[in-house]
């Protein structure tokens, strides 16, 4: 979205370096991410795009040997600062993973988990509403409204992934990170998710890591191309795909490597 013709920047990464032990995985990444847009991160396997994504909600904290340096500003607040509370941060920044990972609980419990731990509903009725709206936004409500109290693991792969999206948006996050959300799904389920992403960007800022360049071209407004831990080029998707500045980007887009 543009206000008064100026792009609103939601996330601003400045000189981010990531180390796994002594091995450096990301070099000097600086990237601005626009609000209420879909930003795709593309690049060959092992280029660091998932690592960068996981920096944005500090999921790399879980890995003992992982060390993140540099500034990441979300709403002008540095999340790598000591005063940043990861629980509050992750409430604002949801994440959807590569493999659908619903909790082995009922559909209802899956979606209500976030609002429960963050105390977002005062009554059962409010919770029911949150669950319903989240599932509706994830385009899953019609399929599952009669079996909310059955295990979430009993759904098909595509439904499970939409359940995970419903779970992520249940706490109304500002940003949703998606780590190759369609790589385990068939083309029909993929199309449903892509449609959903387009819908979700009205209310959320979305960053999606994908292996499929076609997908990046379809769903995103901005694209960043990673290679060997470096951000080679970023800009509007149109420009990256039609007229990239960098030779490497061009080679990758046209399928010469990767």
């Amino acid at each position: 979205m543009r206000k008064n013709g100026v792009k609103m920047i939601k996330i601003k990464a400045k000189d981010v370096d990531v180390f796994y032990g002594k091995k450096q995985a990301l070099f000097n990444i600086s990237l601005d991410i626009e609000e209420n847009q879909v930003t795709a991160l593309i690049g060959p396997s092992g280029c660091g795009k998932s690592t960068f994504l996981r920096c944005l909600n500090r999921m790399n904290d879980v890995i003992d040997i992982c060390n993140v340096k540099g500034e990441i500003l979300i709403n002008d607040f540095n999340i790598n600062d000591k005063s940043c509370d990861v629980v509050r941060l992750r409430e604002k920044i949801g994440m959807v993973f590569q493999k659908p990972n619903p909790f082995p609980k009922t559909l209802y419990e899956n979606v209500s988990y976030g609002p429960t731990i963050h105390g977002m509903a005062q009554s059962k009725q409010e919770m029911d509403e949150i669950v319903e709206t989240s599932l509706k936004k994830a385009a899953l409500w019609e399929e599952v409204k009669d079996r909310l109290h059955e295990p979430g693991t009993g759904l098909s792969g595509g439904q499970q992934q939409r359940l995970c999206i419903a779970r992520a948006i249940s706490v109304r996050p500002e940003v949703i990170l998606m780590d190759e959300p369609c790589s385990a799904l068939d083309p029909i389920a993929t199309a449903q998710i892509e449609e959903l992403i387009d819908e979700l960007k009205k209310e959320h800022t979305i960053i999606i890591v994908t292996h499929s360049m076609a997908q990046a071209a379809r769903v995103s407004q901005n694209t960043g191309f990673f290679h060997l831990g470096q951000l080679i080029e970023h800009g509007s998707t149109d420009k990256i795909f039609k007229n990239p500045d960098n030779k490497k980007t061009q080679d990758y887009i046209t399928g010469r490597f990767g």
């Binding site: 879980v62 992750r90 976030g114 731990i117």
Partner: protein
């Protein structure tokens, strides 16, 4: 070239055939040993569940019992039953001399006086009348009746005299010997007399020890496992702890017994021979088993579940308590039951802390002296009387039954929890 290939193929098939044969014969051997073992125990043990009774007419002579007219309940309690008891046994052979009367007395358990007393207390109207009373046969006659006693030995090598055998055979011929289900084996505590010895004390002792062991080992082990698996940083110190837990699991159980003796009894002055001390000692032994099982099942929870919870903004504690621990519970619980089953069969540490003492009372709490089932087996196996041989096997059967039930329980828990989400 083609022929060569064929040969190679045949060779491979033959190797597989041979391997299957080895596997089958290994299973066959294992089953054979198991069958022999179980057959041996059952064939020696089943007779312990039967008890031999002599039916003897007793005359409740008020004069002999030193009772007045219209005696009160207390009078009946305090009355002297020894004389009528002796007399009823002596009356089995009117021509018996003094030595023979003594032998007659020894045909029943020393408990016979009490059995006669109970008969009268149950029915005070019996005074002055004669009634046929069931008296516990002595363990030797019990074995004779069950056919476990060799009659063809010379008399001086037998514990049953020719005279006793003669009278006994008469009783059998008159239908005055009966075999009934041995209730006292389950309700009596241990006794020096094989015909009276039962497993009540050791059974309760085992249950109390296992409960104490469970209450200590389970929470400590689960907390330790959760901390080590989910919270502890991976460094040299935690590696060191992990190695030591694994070592602890391999420490011989008698060492834990020494620890119990040296620390619990000597320093903390806890009461000797009690299930409390036994349970604490066993819990030390069970701890590493449960920790290892709990850690393995925590490890088996897919990391994607942890990531999902963390990404929702759950704290580490919430992730662990809401997701990881509940999912790991089936594995933890069946590991716990297997650890407890191990503790249930443990003898050596209990012997060291004094649970090998002769206990002829049934414990009412973990603070009362008691034996335990495996120790009871050990005590009886050491006894010389023939009557204890079958008791050993019977006690093993009870212990095995106990273990089978526990393992079944572990299976059910596993099945029930795992089914829910598959």
């Amino acid at each position: 070239m083609n022929k060569n290939k064929e040969q190679l193929l045949n060779k491979r098939y033959n190797a597989e055939q041979r391997f299957r044969l080895y596997g089958l014969s290994a299973i066959f051997m294992a089953l054979l040993f198991l069958t022999i073992f179980i057959f041996k125990i059952f064939s020696t043990g089943y007779s312990a569940f039967q008890k031999t009774w002599l039916i003897v007419p007793v005359t409740f002579d008020a004069e002999l019992m030193m009772l007045d007219q219209n005696p009160s309940k207390e009078d009946l309690q305090d009355a002297d039953y020894y004389d009528i008891a002796l007399k009823s046994m002596a009356d089995l052979d009117p021509n018996a001399n003094e030595d023979q009367e003594n032998e007659l007395k020894r045909m029943v358990s020393y408990f016979f006086e009490k059995e006669i007393k109970n008969e009268l207390l149950n029915d005070p109207n019996l005074i002055g009348k004669t009634k046929e009373v069931y008296l516990t046969a002595s363990d030797d006659l019990d074995q004779v009746f069950k056919g476990n006693y060799p009659r063809d030995l010379p008399e001086d090598q037998r514990r049953v005299s020719d005279y006793q055998l003669k009278i006994f055979d008469q009783l059998v011929a008159n239908g005055k010997v009966e075999s009934k289900f041995n209730i006292s084996f389950f309700t009596n505590a241990d006794s020096r007399e094989a015909e009276l010895a039962g497993i009540a004390s050791s059974f309760m002792g085992s249950i109390f020890s296992i409960l104490v062991c469970l209450m200590i080992a389970f929470p400590v082990a689960v907390l330790a496992a959760i901390y080590l698996e989910e919270f502890a940083p991976k460094n040299r110190f935690t590696d060191f702890i992990e190695v030591n837990i694994n070592n602890l699991a391999a420490v011989p159980s008698i060492v834990f017994g020494l620890l119990g003796l040296g620390v619990l009894l000597a320093i903390f002055q806890l009461p000797r021979s009690t299930p409390l001390v036994g349970g604490i000692t066993l819990s030390l032994m069970t701890l590493p088993t449960i920790i290892i099982a709990a850690r393995a099942s925590l490890k088996a929870v897919p990391p994607s579940i942890r990531e999902a919870a963390l990404a929702m903004g759950a704290s580490r504690m919430q992730t662990t308590m809401h997701h990881t621990v509940p999912l790991s519970m089936p594995g933890t619980l069946s590991g716990t039951i297997i650890g407890l089953a191990q503790a249930l069969g443990e003898t050596a540490p209990l012997i060291l802390i004094g649970m090998v003492a002769f206990v002829n009372t049934i414990p009412g709490s973990p603070m009362d002296p008691a034996a335990s089932l495996p120790v009871q087996i050990y005590i009886w196996a050491e006894s010389a009387e023939r009557g204890f041989v079958e008791k050993v096997s019977a006690c093993i059967m009870v212990l095995l039954g106990f273990l089978i039930i526990m393992n079944l329980f572990a299976q059910i828990i596993r099945h029930k929890f795992e089914k829910k989400w598959s």
